[in-house]
């Protein structure tokens, strides 16, 4: 077994990354490119292009329950984990951004028309920087499920959105974190677009009693794995 990380193409073939066109998720039909992507060989790629993370992190940026005058409604949770690359090495000092709906399943967003209450004490966005061992930590509220128009009786499972930069342009990742044993995942085309069971499992956080704080909040562990340093494809495909 080679320890070279899989190229993106191999990851696609193995089902550990979703395809661009996935008709059960209707919005992909008019938005997925129809032409094959053109591979930039590693020797040409400006992988050292800047990553993001220059903005200072505010004191309450990683605690979404302390960003307003009062506490938000809902079940307080702690979400923490490590950011690693495919070789298991920590990714230190990288920006982790999180956004989510509130406990009632509503985003604080002009386009969200779901008739559930907006929580004046919850913006639903946070930021954190990983430490030298790649660790991050957020305090937030467990998001609610919400309906969407994709198919008959469609509901999104409770989820947090994560955005990460890593240390090169090729490691940029936006993903979602789901909760253990959520029955809605079985009907969710975004979750189901990832066919490889190990990769699906990677999207589901684990309840962790050691992260849980007595009389305060349940803890969920969510480790995020970014592409490796050498994972660009090595042959051209046009």
């Amino acid at each position: 077994m080679s320890n070279r990380p899989m190229s993106d193409r191999h990851a696609l073939e193995a089902g550990s990354q979703p395809p661009l066109l996935y008709p059960p998720y209707k919005s992909t039909v008019k938005r997925a490119p129809t032409q094959p992507l053109i591979v930039i060989p590693e020797r040409f790629a400006s992988l050292a292009t800047p990553v993001y993370g220059y903005l200072p992190i505010g004191e309450a940026d990683n605690d979404l329950t302390r960003q307003h005058a009062g506490e938000p409604q809902g079940e307080r949770i702690i979400v923490a984990g490590r950011v690693l690359d495919e070789d298991g090495r920590a990714v230190p000092h990288t920006l982790v951004e999180l956004w989510q709906c509130n406990a009632a399943g509503r985003y604080r967003h002009a386009k969200d028309k779901h008739p559930a209450p907006i929580d004046p004490n919850f913006s639903g966005a946070g930021r954190s920087i990983t430490d030298a061992e790649g660790r991050y930590r957020f305090v937030t509220i467990k998001p609610g499920a919400y309906p969407w128009g994709n198919h008959d009786n469609a509901w999104r499972p409770a989820h947090l959105h994560f955005s990460l930069f890593g240390h090169s342009i090729a490691t940029r990742l936006v993903t979602q974190m789901y909760f253990p044993n959520d029955p809605l995942c079985a009907w969710d085309p975004m979750f189901q677009s990832v066919r490889d069971p190990r990769a699906q499992q990677r999207l589901v956080s684990q309840f962790d009693l050691s992260l849980t704080e007595p009389n305060w909040a349940l803890g969920y562990r969510f480790d995020i794995v970014l592409r490796g340093r050498d994972s660009t494809p090595f042959e051209a495909r046009v």
Binding site: G53, G58, A199
Partner: protein, 190 residues
């Protein structure tokens, strides 16, 4: 001798959805890459995103990365205490109801350490994209287009989809991303 370890499975990409809200308060500032002290030719790079029906995509998040006027990239901070560079070379905006967004920046210089044409790397996120897309903006009047190694990987008849065009005032450059259709933009796999 240690056994090689099986690589970890990379986390799967997922859509940003229509309701992204990244970085408290940060999005307002991410449309201006170059403050007054940054050397270079000031430009306004306007990127419009159209779907397979030619309809504007009004819920996209557009990120750009570019070199400075000398063709050099800002290096990532090595410590959290490092001061931010004057020109970090990164921008991020949401598209408007017309499917566009405009960055106030400088025209990048030709790559400092490679032969080729100046370009801006664009990263697109939106509802309906389970994985983000990369494309590149080149400038239509750049004399180095014919020898750019990445453009030469692109079939000749599709290269024009990667060109930005100078608009009326001379300082604005328009770039259209077509997700599908006869003039579908070229997207790259890094």
């Amino acid at each position: 001798m240690s056994e090689p370890q099986e690589p970890l499975v990379a986390s799967a990409s997922q859509t940003v959805g229509p309701f992204f809200h990244v970085g408290p308060g940060a999005s307002d500032r991410c449309g201006v890459l170059a403050g007054p002290g940054v050397p270079g030719e000031r430009i306004r790079l306007c990127i419009r995103v159209l779907d397979g029906d030619g309809a504007p995509v009004d819920d996209a998040m557009v990120e750009i990365r570019q070199a400075d006027a000398d063709g050099a990239y800002a290096l990532p901070p090595t410590s959290l205490e490092d001061p931010p560079p004057q020109f970090a070379g990164f921008g991020r905006l949401s598209t408007s109801k017309d499917g566009d967004c405009c960055f106030e920046t400088i025209r990048p210089g030709a790559p400092a350490h490679a032969d080729g044409a100046a370009h801006v790397t664009v990263c697109l996120f939106m509802r309906g994209l389970l994985r983000h897309l990369y494309t590149r903006v080149y400038f239509e009047d750049d004399l180095a287009l014919d020898r750019d190694p990445i453009l030469l990987l692109v079939p000749a008849e599709r290269r024009s989809t990667l060109l930005a065009h100078r608009a009326g005032d001379g300082a604005t450059w328009d770039f259209v991303v077509r997700l599908q259709g006869p003039d579908e933009t070229v997207f790259f796999d890094l």
